[in-house]
Point group: C2
Chain length 213, copies 2
């Protein structure tokens, strides 16, 4: 029999669980910069992510200029106002009080795309479920989220955006599809409970129950 | 100023990087069972995953009966034969040699779905980009992948499947959309290099370069 794969130590597994517990969607950032070397080190985790057919379809735009930031913020604000208009009563009141992005403060902002037309991987695994290319980008973002949190950084994923408008504003190739707009920086506070739970919007369930077939 | 969030130790961060390096898409499994308590512990990581609007849209079906397993395997084999027919020359020769699923051996097989119609989260964050519900399921799977690997288990994600056929065969609700078919068990070997790279199908790139706007 082959030797079994390495299990990691119990102490490591406990710290990994603590990392998962402390990983939050952060919207409240201090404005101090993130050192370039630290950002680079965290971004290197992308190349360790799983991707369908080894297609590595992630493409990352750093949104940096005042004009690009203003465009993204206006995009969010328009989508957020429209979303608020869709709620009424108590839900609308809670929604209006929520802080749903750190785009005014976060020192690093990244628009992460999937290149739907990459020849890399030669289509392996993506014939019946082409969305797995986008899913590969999500897996890479998830790992990046954990790696940045392990460094004490906070990450927030903004999805209240018109993705086509953002893609046009950022002048990305037509084959790139927006997967996420990420805010990154030093979080103002450390929390174990999601902000949406603390605000009374929604509560987390315990572990999922399996259906058996 | 608020106290900064906890940074994890350098030793932990090194182990986390080792975990990312050793996380593989596994297709070669030993047939020994996975203890029920261990599987349950790993599945608990789903409830620590990020989800848009706290919608927690993941739904998990354990594919267990011989009939359900046979249906899923036939589904994969048909999709895989069709995919092979789309390649020619050397690519076809390599593809034909690849082992692309561990569905004959893996002791645990999970079909993971997204409930597109869940009322949970009241649609927050999913108005402009409803695909973020599916992305939440992918994030949960990615964390589960790391947690299982930390326990010495291997996980393989099969996407060479007709998702509608599988959903029908497993008789899941119409609002559930297949995100992944996962094989889980004890891996035959421990590898740092993806099987597709070793087989000469594709190579990994170094860390992604940022486009700046």
């Amino acid at each position: 029999m082959q030797p079994p794969a390495t299990a990691f130590s119990g102490a490591f597994r406990q710290e990994l669980e603590r990392l998962l517990r402390l990983r939050r969607d952060v919207r409240r950032f201090r404005t101090d910069p993130v050192p370039a070397e630290l950002l680079e080190r965290c971004l290197a985790s992308f190349s360790l992510a799983p991707s369908v057919g080894l297609s590595e379809p992630w493409r990352i735009v750093r949104v940096e200029s005042p004009a690009a930031r203003a465009g993204a913020l206006a995009n969010f604000e328009a989508a957020n106002a429209k979303a608020l208009a869709g709620y009424s009563g108590e839900k609308a009141a809670i929604y209006a009080r929520l802080k749903l992005s750190g785009m005014r403060e976060a020192p690093v902002q990244l628009a992460v795309f999937c290149d739907e037309a990459t020849p890399k991987g030669a289509g392996l695994g993506a014939a019946t479920m082409p969305e797995t290319r986008r899913y590969s980008v999500v897996a890479a973002i998830t790992q990046f989220w954990l790696v940045t949190r392990a460094e004490g950084l906070g990450l927030g994923w903004v999805s209240i955006l018109d993705p086509e408008r953002l893609s046009a504003d950022l002048e990305v190739p037509a084959s790139w599809r927006l997967v996420a707009y990420l805010c990154l920086g030093w979080p103002e506070e450390e929390l174990e409970t999601p902000e949406l739970e603390r605000a009374g919007w929604e509560r987390r369930d315990p572990a999922p129950e399996l259906v058996v077939r």
